[in-house]
């Protein structure tokens, strides 16, 4: 339950932070999460999921608000990629940013902790 709460909270921070500030909030939020939550095996997993879910939710809103299908077609034609590639790339990029930042801060925390 605690894990789920953490996941939801981090996802919401990412959504709000991206909307009001920009993409760079994602690694910041990931880093903060890694630094301040208790370092468990699920920290990086939670950050990965939160990054993907946060930007995934924003993409869902984009799809509701505009012709995302046409954008995907355009992107696919431009870069000669499958039309869904932009979705995968976006979600994966957020997941990578958040997870790697969380892993770095968790690692630093562990290294600084007394042996």
């Amino acid at each position: 339950m605690k894990w789920l709460m953490q996941l939801v909270a981090l996802t919401l921070v990412i959504i709000a932070g991206t909307w009001f500030a920009g993409w760079w909030v994602v690694p910041l939020a990931g880093a903060a999460f890694g630094a301040w939550t208790s370092a468990t095996r699920t920290t990086v997993l939670t950050a990965t999921l939160a990054g993907a879910l946060g930007w995934g939710a924003l993409l869902a809103f984009d799809a509701y608000a505009g012709p995302v299908g046409r954008l995907l077609d355009v992107f696919g034609s431009l870069f000669r990629l499958p039309s869904g590639a932009l979705v995968v790339l976006t979600v994966a990029y957020a997941a990578l940013l958040c997870a790697s930042a969380a892993a770095v801060s968790r690692g630093i925390r562990r290294l600084l902790a007394p042996a």
Binding site: P27, L59, F61, V68, Y93, L97, S100, A103
Partner: protein, 842 residues
């Protein structure tokens, strides 16, 4: 066990360090690609950001139902209602506000287009897209387009109404750029990792310069000099004549009811030598620029841009109202060159039509009293002069009337994407204009487009004219690019005039020969007076038409006006249609725009049948020729979409042109020489044993009939090789298609394989690769209530993700027209698609 615990701790520690290092590396890499562009890939963080990145392009693809904002400089509120076709109807209380809102609305839909076309003229594309555009930039700067536009702008008096309104329009564009949020950045800017540049009001004149490059660039001197080098003076004169051999002029000749044909035998080609071929190659190269090829199509072949317009007097229409049709052909792009708009200031202006983004005018359109449209005149308004300079490599002076005059220098530093100077060019100017160097010869160029005249003023006043006569009066001062302006009004008058500044030249007046630059006596002596322009008002024949043909029959006025005129076959066709119809309807006007027949086909098909029949009797025809001729006998002579024989005719004409004009190409140096017009080929058909029929690559001596037989045989083999045996794959709809590239040629943002009813000599001609065509088609009925129909190949939005980017293509392809909404008041628009209200700043 106790010994192993520290060891385990060390291993764990090492593992943690390794994990942290891997994570750090991944994070650093992710942040790096997020923040820094790599090659052509924009910074991924801002690009992929689902809130403000590329995804916002989809979210903002459609106009919000209602929007309201304040912009600086407005005196009163302005209401903009977008109709169901996304056309903005702008209702303002005064012209300044109207222009400000106009600029704002255009920028909202077409910002990248504004940027790209301005940079193309300024020669700063490299700053946007990188060094790949360097040669285009060098060419633009050498042409002096921006230099000329700045001259025009500086010549407009401060405080004049025109300057004020152009500035207001520019302020509207600037207001949009200033209030644009990160979500509003167009897709192309995101892909290029760029932001729109600041807009300056003189960029309006950059746009006019670009139109002049498309429509009024005429370097016939270079082409002609190259042809002289290849085939001799007499033959060059006949292949690219000053006067068209078939005369169906724009200015009707009283009492004439059919075209006048002026047959003249072609003198044989002179022997070629390699030195001549080298000269020709250099001259053709100088005349053939990448930018011109893109704008006008293949300069070596027939002119690809083929516009039409015609108007019919009330006495020849079914409803008794004047009718007008406009059909300007240009390079097809997405977004389209045109943007539809309705401008209203009660009691001052109520004009609907198409505008080119960046220009605060409606060059083609209608108001409550009249309609107007244009085709390109193609007059010769650009001359070359061979100059004598003091130092061929680094000239500082040029000779004029025996004295040395200093050359003006223009230093052009072309920058790349990050401000680094890629190249610095020095452009030398004589008093005539910029110079170019061709094989060691220095040529200066004088061109009406670079003269400091204000062409926007006349067009702006014309938008408000109440009658044909008022329109003709205000347009008297219009200069560049020269256009065959056609008008009709609700009083039932129709008129046409080839309007523009035409140079008066000394001597025989010819402008297609390179003049002697060492004498001031070679200079222009003035411009034609307006009453000498080709023109006609309410002719007895009851209609007027122009199709880029020679405007005046030389029997009426022999003065030099231009040379190498486009084929008259479109003119022959529309004149035939209009002569035959004494009760024209708006729908007939629409059908004529995509009429599938050509007056050209019969000139070649029957002689080919006869030649094949004779060869078959003599046993000299191969199977392919016989089979090809048999298949072509099944053709109805029309270029309809479902036609399965037009492809064979088209291929035969290609083969015929190639085989006949081998004298103009075929050497390693001259791979792509200019091709005489089909009119000249038709003329040659009358002389079956002319030396021109001989294929120099064979030992035999060919004549017309053997070339015709060889052409149909080769065409049959080519078509069957490409499309298989006769059948569905020969269908014209799959072969002659439009190719509409994105303005910046970004792959995936253009549209290809769009079927179109078009063919050689039809009213909707095509250039083979389908990159040029009808850029806007419209019909206006000038009754008590003006009614109009129109469409263009694209859509109102410049956003490739918007449904409004290409929503008009299906109807355009089918030759259909939308009903244009022309409300008197904002409240008359029943179901607006969107509303934008602009208020003055508090």
């Amino acid at each position: 066990m106790t010994d192993r615990a520290p060891m385990l701790a060390v291993v764990t520690r090492a593992s943690q360090v390794a994990t942290a290092m891997v994570a750090s590396a991944l994070l650093a890499a992710a942040i790096f690609v997020g923040a820094v562009p790599i090659g052509r890939v924009p910074p991924l963080g801002a690009f992929l950001d689902p809130a403000h990145g590329v995804w916002a392009v989809a979210r903002n693809a459609e106009l919000p139902r209602t929007a309201s904002l304040r912009i600086a400089g407005l005196k009163d509120s302005v209401t903009v209602m977008y109709d169901d076709r996304a056309v903005p109807h702008i209702f303002a209380q005064n012209e300044d506000d109207l222009m400000r809102a106009f600029g704002y609305v255009v920028a909202r839909d077409r910002l990248f287009q504004l940027e790209l076309q301005t940079r193309a003229v300024a020669g700063t594309l490299s700053e946007l897209v990188g060094a790949s555009a360097l040669e285009l930039d060098r060419e633009a700067r050498a042409q002096g387009l921006a230099w000329g536009a700045e001259r025009k702008w500086n010549a407009i008096p401060e405080g004049s109404e025109n300057r004020r309104l152009v500035k207001a329009y520019g302020d509207g564009i600037s207001a949009y750029i200033a209030q644009m949020g990160p979500d509003d950045v167009p897709l192309e800017f995101r892909l290029l990792n760029a932001r729109p540049q600041e807009w300056k009001p003189q960029y309006t004149y950059y746009l006019l310069a670009r139109m002049s490059l498309t429509l009024a660039w005429n370097d016939e001197e270079l082409r002609r000099a190259g042809v002289v080098a290849l085939v001799g003076e007499r033959a060059a004169e006949a292949l690219f004549p000053v006067n068209a051999p078939i005369q169906e002029p724009i200015q009707p000749v009283a009492g004439r009811h059919a075209p006048r044909i002026d047959p003249a035998p072609l003198p044989p080609p002179a022997p070629r030598d390699s030195a001549h071929a080298a000269v020709a190659a250099a001259l053709f190269g100088a005349a053939e620029s990448p930018a011109l090829l893109a704008l006008r199509g293949d300069a070596s072949g027939e002119i690809a841009v083929g516009s039409n317009n015609w108007a019919v007097s009330p006495k020849r229409t079914a409803a008794g109202h004047a009718l007008l049709s406009g059909d300007p052909h240009l390079q097809l792009t997405l977004p389209s060159v045109w943007y539809e708009v309705h401008l209203v200031v009660p009691g001052v202006i109520d004009t609907y039509g198409v505008t080119i983004p960046g220009g605060p005018i409606v060059p083609i359109g209608f108001n409550r009293s009249m309609a107007w449209t244009a085709t390109n005149t193609g007059a010769d308004v650009l001359d070359y002069y061979e100059e004598k300079v003091d130092d061929a490599s680094h000239p500082t002076k040029y000779e004029l009337d025996g004295a040395w005059k200093p050359l003006a220098l223009r230093i052009e530093a072309i920058k790349g994407r990050f401000g680094r100077v890629l190249r610095t060019d020095t452009i030398y100017h004589t008093h005539r204009g910029p110079m170019i160097r061709v094989r060691g010869r220095w040529l200066s160029r004088r061109w009406t487009a670079l003269e400091p005249t204000d062409d926007g003023e006349a067009l702006r006043l014309a938008d408000k004219a109440k009658s044909v006569s008022e329109w003709m009066t205000v347009m008297g001062s219009y200069g560049v690019p020269a256009q065959n302006f056609l008008t009709a009004d609700t009083l039932g008058h129709i008129a046409i005039r080839s309007t523009g500044h035409y140079p008066l030249r000394p001597g025989n007046g010819r402008g297609d020969l390179i003049a002697d630059g060492t004498k001031s006596a070679s200079d222009w002596t003035g411009f034609w007076p307006v009453d000498r322009y080709p023109q006609s008002e309410d002719p007895a024949q009851g209609y007027l038409a122009s199709n880029n043909q020679q405007p005046k029959d030389p029997q009426v006025d022999a003065a030099y006006f231009g040379s190498n005129w486009p084929n008259p076959f479109r003119a022959l066709r529309i004149n035939a249609l209009l002569r035959a119809d004494s009760a024209v309807t708006p729908d007939a006007m629409r059908r004529y725009q995509t009429d599938p027949s050509s007056e050209l086909t019969t000139l070649f098909v029957q002689p080919m049948f006869d030649a094949v029949a004779k060869a078959a009797v003599a046993g000299a025809a191969d199977t392919a020729a016989v089979r090809g001729a048999a298949l072509l006998r099944e053709w109805d002579g029309r270029f309809t979409l479902d036609n399965e024989r037009a492809v064979l005719y088209d291929a035969m004409m290609d083969e015929l042109m190639q085989r006949t004009w081998d004298e103009l190409r075929g050497t390693p140096l001259v791979r792509r020489g200019p091709t005489p017009s089909t009119t000249i080929l038709a003329q040659l058909m009358r002389d079956p044993n002319s030396l021109w029929w001989d294929d120099r690559s064979t030992a035999a001596r060919e004549n017309r009939d053997s070339i015709l037989v060889a052409s149909i045989g080769a065409a049959y083999l080519r078509v069957t090789k490409q499309y298989g045996p006769p059948g569905a794959r020969w269908r014209w709809s799959g072969i002659r298609t439009a190719t509409i590239d994105h303005l910046a040629r970004l792959p995936g943002l253009g549209r290809t394989k769009i079927p179109m009813t078009s063919g050689r000599g039809t009213l909707s001609p095509s250039d083979g690769d389908g990159t040029h065509g009808a850029s806007w088609r419209f019909v206006v009925e000038l009754g008590h209530d003006v009614r109009a129909w129109g469409t263009y190949p694209g859509g109102q939005s410049g956003n490739p993700v918007s449904a409004r980017y290409d929503d008009r293509l299906p109807w355009w392809s089918a030759g259909k027209l939308d009903t244009l909404r022309f409300p008197h008041r904002a409240a008359d628009l029943a179901t607006p698609r969107a509303t934008l209200t602009l208020h003055p700043e508090r």
